[in-house]
Symmetry: C2
Subunit: 404 residues, 2 copies
């Protein structure tokens, strides 16, 4: 049964049939789900401390070349018609782990999509009052949109470092995604950034109407705290409260909402109508609040779930902070040189609106150099977790190199 | 020191100097703050169960005519120039307790105002990032507005039944008020009810601008959960989580936000543009969500803080539900026959907008009769708490009879 699950998982994630041996499938399963406890038990790795054991395991997989299997099953030439289109394995280690990262990202995205779908189902939970259909539709439209779900991925991958049950990490990821999606809905409103397109589809107020979009955003924000307060997120109320407080701080006045306010101020909305001159420090603060705070929360949340110790939390904060900054610089670079058909939204809007960006302050070349430094910082921050954190290192690279 | 505090409290609450004996002041202090433990200890009431002891005390105060003192100190004719304007004491029992209720309401309002003022101070708490000034200003404008603070009053008065430290109840009341105020800001937006006036002042989007109002609402909603997640609200994380979940449910999709959606639907926003015909059951559901859910939460919250037992919680829910319905009917009656200068907002808007109200469905006379029944239900629900709950009985009457 777990074997069949792994086979299915590999097929879904890679789009390829897993024509591999049972042993390799089992190894792949551990690799995919980072189930350290099972790896210890069944493969006989050193049991304590588990994280070292896990790191050993991952290293062993790497050396044995088995990690490649996940992304690229070693098929006999005639075993499967799709073999011919597979890339050569030469020099594939980096690419392969990047591909494996994408597979994990996709897997988390699918799980988050299905979890939010279930949480936002029509019948009210626990005999509560009816959920008005139009509002429910709008909240589903805004949250079940095929997003990358990079924030939930961070929660899940970091929680896995601490052997947190995946179900809990997914609940936290779903809550975080509700906050992210609400912020997009409100950000797109005519009185805010006035966007018609989001991820290639009409924005919520275009698909529905402004009042419905405002309420759908309010509903998603409220729902995020509803999700986090449930025992499914963590059985210990103290852990749930810690998560909740961290999310509220990351999302509010001193975090995301505050950052959006600074963003509008930078456009010159409230002064004389002309864009304000933001220097590098001001732009960094703005972005640390607007985009950085939620990404940082995603990284800390895994540590809170795993009840990480102080040094581990600091490492996660450093990683989260670097990833957050990298994410925003990449976003700003995409706005000036991205492909709107891949991005699913209009490009060149930031410059036109007079948005304060680091690309604007530093120029493209220096911004790209900064991006590289930030990725290196993110990877370095993960050192305490050893090889177990490779997928998060790939995540940092992905953030810097993404096209959408 | 406690004596001086009581004297000050009486002066502030009644606008009259407390020229009374020390003993009476001390009794007044117990009466005002419902400090059952101290009353037991210092006045020698039966210690267990405390609530019965408290009820006994209140009854004793009543019989001894001492309750009147709070609202109307027995001054010698020459003792104070304001004596002449005092009402006669004949048949004053009801009036006096109504006045004492208003004094308590006013006291809670002042405490909530000062607590929110402190919570929303400019320097960020715990070394967090700066709070953008314009956003902070708008959040303060929307929440420090001299509201009646009836919801926090309910929390405080009900928590007092269970001897909960007042500071905790005030924190929960402040969180609840943030949710209430955010809902007013978003409700007033041009895309929603399009109101220019709120409590006699320009609405947030008029005083600032639409984008700032949207963000200020988002910020207040987020801040409510921030406040509730703090240990000041209750030292036990399990109690805080229970409060948080209840508030999220009351405010979200199946509560207030859902009710606002139904309200707009009733106007005919989403169908053919004509108001929809809502029958009594549909209007009752709409209002139980839109206004009722938060008022019900206010009543339940006191019980959660006090870790009330099942029967007590059921009584509080019945009280909360009746008060919630009464509140909305009174609101709808005020909209058709109120005084806009007292109300601080335009009247006749609901009928014009085609809002679904019970007054519309039942007619004014039947709605007034329903109001009386609901007040009687609310008072009856409080029976298990005995005389200790008199201020909440007065609260139910106030809701039905208020002019603003």
């Amino acid at each position: 049964m777990p074997l069949a699950y792994a086979a299915e998982g590999i097929a879904r994630m890679t789009g390829r049939e897993p024509f591999v041996t049972k042993d390799r499938l089992r190894i792949a399963q551990y690799r995919m789900f980072f189930n350290a406890a099972k790896a210890e038990r069944e493969l006989g790795f050193r049991a304590r401390p588990y994280r070292e054991g896990l790191a050993d395991a991952i290293e062993w997989f790497y050396k044995a070349g088995l990690l490649q299997m996940v992304a690229e099953p070693r098929l006999g030439p005639a075993a499967h018609p799709r073999t011919a289109r597979m890339p050569s394995k030469a020099g594939a280690t980096m690419t392969v782990s990047g591909e494996a990262f994408l597979s994990q990202l996709t897997a988390v995205a699918a799980e988050i999509e299905s979890l939010i779908d279930r949480l936002l189902a029509a019948p009210a939970i626990e005999g509560k009052r009816a959920r008005p259909q139009r509002l429910l539709d709008a909240m589903r439209y805004a949250s079940l949109n095929g997003g990358k779900r990079f924030r939930p991925f961070l929660v899940v991958a970091i929680a896995a470092l601490f052997d947190v049950p995946r179900k809990r990490a997914l609940m936290v990821g779903a809550a975080l995604e509700c906050v992210h999606c609400y912020s997009l809905v409100h950000d797109d409103l005519p009185a805010m950034d006035d966007d018609d397109l989001r991820r290639g589809h009409p924005t919520a107020h275009k698909a529905f109407d402004e009042a419905t979009a405002i309420l759908a955003g309010d509903g998603l924000l409220t729902f995020a705290f509803d999700i986090l307060a449930r025992p499914d997120a963590h059985p210990d109320p103290a852990v749930r409260i810690e998560l909740l407080l961290a999310l509220a701080r990351a999302s509010g006045l001193g975090g995301m909402v505050g950052g959006q306010m600074l963003d509008l101020a930078a456009e010159g909305r409230f002064a004389d109508g002309r864009p304000q001159a933001f220097d590098e420090a001001a732009v960094t603060t703005l972005q640390a609040m607007k985009t950085g705070a939620l990404l940082r929360f995603a990284c800390i949340a895994g540590g809170i779930l795993g009840q990480a110790i102080g040094a581990e939390r600091e490492a996660l904060e450093r990683y989260g902070s670097a990833v957050g900054q990298a994410f925003q610089i990449a976003d700003d670079l995409l706005d000036i040189q991205g492909d709107s058909t891949i991005l699913g939204k209009a490009i060149g809007k930031d410059a036109k609106a007079g948005k304060a960006t680091l690309v604007g302050v530093l120029g493209s070349e220096q911004a790209k150099a900064r991006l590289k430094t930030l990725v290196a910082e993110a990877v370095a921050a993960l050192a305490p977790f050893g090889a177990a954190a490779w997928v998060l290192m790939e995540g940092a690279k992905f953030v810097a190199e993404r096209k959408a």
